[in-house]
C-alpha cells in the first residue's frame, strides 16, 4: 500500500509536505479564512482545531482545491500551485473525508472503496466493455488492495451492504476506507469523530493512529472537540474566526491562554 501516488518529487519523512502561506478566503465580504500560514510535515498527524465557524472546513476545502483562496499560496510536495480543480488535488495525492459523511449511498461498501482506486485504474474503455483480459486483471488486483483495507478497518461483514443502510459509525469507517484506497500522501479528515459516542471515538482514534503507523500516511484532521485531538496529534493549529491563534505541540496548545479564551463559552 505504500506505493507513492500522484506526481511531484518524493518528500522524506519529517520534511514539509504541504505549506500554507498567508492564505485568505472570503465569501461576499465574509472572511472565512484570513492570512493563515502553517505547514504539514510528512508522516505526522496534524490537527486543525477551533470553535465552530473558525474556518476549519474552509481551510480543508482550500487545501484540496475545492475553494480557491483570494490571496496566499499553497505549496504541496515542493510545487507551489495556482488554481487547481479538486481532482487535480486527488491526482496529486490528497484524499479526504467529510464532516457529514459523503459516501455514494446507492453503492455497497465494497464499491464505495473501489471508487477510491479510480485514479489507479487505467484499462481503456473497450477492455472495460469486455471486462476481460487487462480489465479483469486490473479489477482483480485492485479488489485485492481494497480487501486489504476492508480487513484493516474490520468491516468484512458489511462488504456487500449498500452504505445507505449502515449505521453512522460504520459509514465513517467506510469513508475512511475510500480515502485510504487512494493511497494518499496527505489524508484530510474533516471531524472524523463528529457525532460519535465515546466508544466509537476511541475506535476511530485507534484506526487513525493505525493508518498513520501502518501506512505511514500523513494526516491532517479537523476537530472542534479538543479532547480527542490532543492525544492523537503531533502538532496542532488553532483557528478562531478564520485567524490562526496558536500553533504547536498539544501540550503547548493546552497551556496557551489565547486558545483557552477562544474555547471559553464553547461548551463541551
Amino acid at each position: 500500500m505504500r506505493a507513492p501516488s500522484g506526481t511531484g518529487p518524493e518528500v522524506a519523512v519529517g520534511d514539509v509536505l504541504l505549506s500554507v502561506e498567508n492564505v485568505s478566503l472570503s465569501f461576499g465580504g465574509v472572511n472565512a479564512v484570513s492570512d493563515v500560514s502553517f505547514d504539514i510535515r510528512k508522516g505526522e498527524i496534524r490537527a486543525i482545531i477551533g470553535p465552530n465557524g473558525a474556518g476549519k472546513t474552509s481551510m480543508l476545502n482550500i487545501i484540496n482545491g475545492f475553494y480557491h483562496p483570494q490571496q496566499g499560496r499553497i505549496t504541496f510536495k515542493g510545487k507551489t500551485r495556482a488554481k487547481m480543480r479538486p481532482h487535480d488535488a486527488a491526482y496529486g495525492g490528497i484524499a479526504r473525508t467529510f464532516q457529514n459523511v459523503a459516501l455514494f449511498r446507492g453503492m455497497t461498501a465494497l464499491d464505495n472503496i473501489m471508487t477510491g482506486r479510480t485514479l489507479k485504474m487505467h484499462t481503456n474503455f473497450f477492455w472495460q466493455l469486455l471486462r476481460f483480459g487487462p480489465a479483469m486483471a486490473e479489477e482483480v488486483e485492485h479488489r485485492r488492495r481494497v480487501e486489504e483495507i476492508i480487513d484493516f478497518l474490520k468491516i468484512q461483514e458489511i462488504r456487500r451492504i449498500p452504505v445507505g443502510r449502515l449505521p453512522y459509525g460504520l459509514q465513517k469507517r467506510v469513508e475512511l476506507g475510500r480515502a485510504l484506497a487512494m493511497e494518499p500522501d496527505l489524508l484530510l479528515l474533516d471531524e472524523p469523530m463528529a457525532g460519535m459516542n465515546l466508544e466509537e471515538k476511541e475506535d476511530m482514534s485507534r484506526f487513525i493512529l493505525d493508518v498513520n503507523d501502518h501506512y505511514g500516511t500523513t494526516i491532517a484532521l479537523i476537530e472542534h472537540d479538543m479532547g480527542v485531538v490532543m492525544d492523537l496529534s503531533d502538532r496542532v493549529v488553532v483557528l478562531d474566526h478564520g485567524i490562526k491563534i496558536a500553533d504547536g505541540t498539544p501540550d503547548a496548545i493546552k497551556a496557551d491562554q489565547g486558545v483557552i479564551d477562544a474555547y471559553l463559552g464553547v461548551a463541551h
Binding site: 479538486p86 481532482h87 488535488a89 455514494f104 453503492m107 471508487t115 479510480t118 472495460q128 487512494m182
Partner: protein, 358 residues
C-alpha cells in the same frame, strides 16, 4: 426456496465478481436464453413475435440506453427519441452509401452517429443539473426532429418524406425490408440486444460504471476522489445515445420497415423514460420489465376491451387507454417508486432466505 447456496464458495475474485455468482441464477439465465433463441421461434406465432416480443426487445435496449444515463449516472434526459432517430436516419444514410456492407454492421455503426449527437447535446450537462438539464435535452429532441423533417437529404428526398427500408441480405437470406421473415428479424434483434446487454453489464460493474454511480450519488465527493466529472458525464451521454441509436436503427430496419420523423418525436422519449422509471432506475433487468409493461399495457388494455366486446369507437378507446395508462403509472409509482426491478429483488431475496422471512 430453489436456492441452494450452501457450498457455493468463491476461491477467486474473478469468480466472486462474476455476472451471476449464484449457480441457480446461471442456470436460470441459460434457460431464459435457450427459450428466447429456440423456444420462442418454434412455439410462438409470427403475430405474437412481431407485435410483442420484437418491439419489446428493441425498446428494452433503448431503455437500457436511457438507464445508463439517468439510472446510473443520474442525468435526466428527455431526448431519447431524437437519439433513436439519429440512429435510424444514420443507418438509412449509411446503408444508402454502402449498400454492400452487412446491414448489421451498419446498424451498429449508426450507433456511433447518435453517440456523437449525444456528446454534443450532453455538453450543457457540464454546467447544469437536474431538471435544467432535462429541459436542455429537450433542445436535442426538438432540434433533431426538426432536422428529420426539414432535411430531405436524410430520407433521400423521397416523396413520402420517410425512410423506406431497403432489402438487405445476409447469407442469401433477406433480413431487412418487406421480404424479411419475422423470425429472422427477431433472432437478429435478440442477438444484438443480448450482446449489448451483456456489454452494458460489464461496463456498469467495472471502473466506468462505478464512476458513473459515484457522480450520480454525490458528484462533489466523486470529484474529490479524482473523478473527472465532464469526462464521466460525456461518456455516459455517448454510451447511452449509442444504445438508443442502435435501438432506433433496429426499430426501423428490423421492425417498422419504414418510418418518418414522427416515429421519433418527444412522445417516444417519454415512453422510454416511463420504461426506465417503471422498470427501475439503475437496473438493466428493470429496463426489460419496464419495456414489457409500458409497451404491452396498451395492447393488453385494447385486447381486454375487445374481449369484453365493448361497443366503443376507437377514439373513445384511445381516451380510455390514456386515462388507464395515466392512472396505472401514478398507482405504480405510489406502490413501488423503485420500480419492478426492486420487486424482483425482494422476491429473489425471499427465495434465498426461505423459509426465513429475512
Amino acid at each position: 426456496m430453489f436456492y441452494r447456496e450452501a457450498g457455493q464458495y468463491k476461491t477467486s475474485y474473478r469468480a466472486d465478481q462474476a455476472l451471476f455468482p449464484i449457480r441457480q441464477d446461471q442456470i436460470g439465465m441459460l434457460l431464459i436464453l435457450a427459450i428466447a433463441f429456440i423456444g420462442v421461434p418454434l412455439t410462438q406465432s409470427d403475430f405474437v413475435i412481431d407485435s410483442f416480443i420484437t418491439p419489446i426487445l428493441i425498446f428494452s435496449l433503448a431503455a437500457i440506453g436511457l438507464n445508463l444515463l439517468t439510472g446510473y449516472t443520474g442525468l435526466l434526459s428527455l431526448g431519447t427519441g431524437a437519439f433513436m432517430g439519429v440512429g435510424a436516419f444514420g443507418c438509412y444514410k449509411l446503408t444508402t452509401f454502402f449498400p454492400h456492407v452487412n446491414i448489421i454492421v451498419i446498424i451498429v455503426c449508426s450507433g456511433f452517429l447518435s453517440a456523437a449527437a449525444g456528446i454534443v447535446f450532453g455538453l450543457p450537462s457540464l454546467r447544469i443539473k437536474g431538471f435544467y438539464l432535462a429541459v436542455a435535452t429537450l433542445a436535442a429532441q426538438f432540434f433533431l426532429s426538426w432536422c428529420f423533417i426539414r432535411i430531405p437529404w436524410l430520407y433521400n428526398n423521397n416523396v413520402s418524406a420517410s425512410i423506406e427500408v431497403p432489402e438487405r441480405m445476409m447469407f442469401g437470406i433477406p433480413i431487412t425490408g418487406p421480404t424479411a421473415a419475422v423470425t429472422t428479424r427477431y433472432l437478429i434483434v435478440l442477438s444484438i440486444v443480448a450482446v449489448m446487454t451483456w456489454l452494458a453489464s460489464n461496463l456498469i460493474r467495472g471502473r466506468i460504471g462505478r464512476t458513473w454511480m459515484a457522480v450520480r450519488d454525490m458528484d462533489i465527493a466523486a470529484e474529490l476522489i479524482g473523478i473527472k466529472l465532464y469526462q464521466t458525464k460525456l461518456m455516459a451521454f455517448a454510451v447511452s445515445s449509442f444504445y438508443c441509436g442502435v435501438a432506433g436503427a433496429m426499430l426501423v430496419f428490423l421492425y417498422l420497415g419504414n418510418a418518418e420523423s414522427e416515429s421519433f418525436n418527444i412522445n417516444q422519449s417519454f415512453l422510454v423514460l416511463f420504461m426506465v422509471i417503471i422498470g427501475g432506475l439503475g437496473s438493466l433487468l428493470g429496463s426489460f420489465f419496464g419495456a414489457a409493461l409500458i409497451y404491452g399495457l396498451p395492447i393488453v388494455l385494447r385486447m381486454v376491451k375487445e374481449g369484453l366486446g365493448l361497443a366503443v369507437t376507437s377514439a373513445t378507446l384511445e381516451h380510455i387507454n390514456f386515462i388507464t395508462l395515466g392512472t396505472l403509472i401514478i398507482l405504480f409509482l405510489i406502490a413501488e417508486p423503485n420500480g419492478l426491478a426492486r420487486l424482483w429483488q425482494i422476491g429473489k431475496q425471499k427465495l434465498r432466505v426461505w423459509p426465513f422471512p429475512y
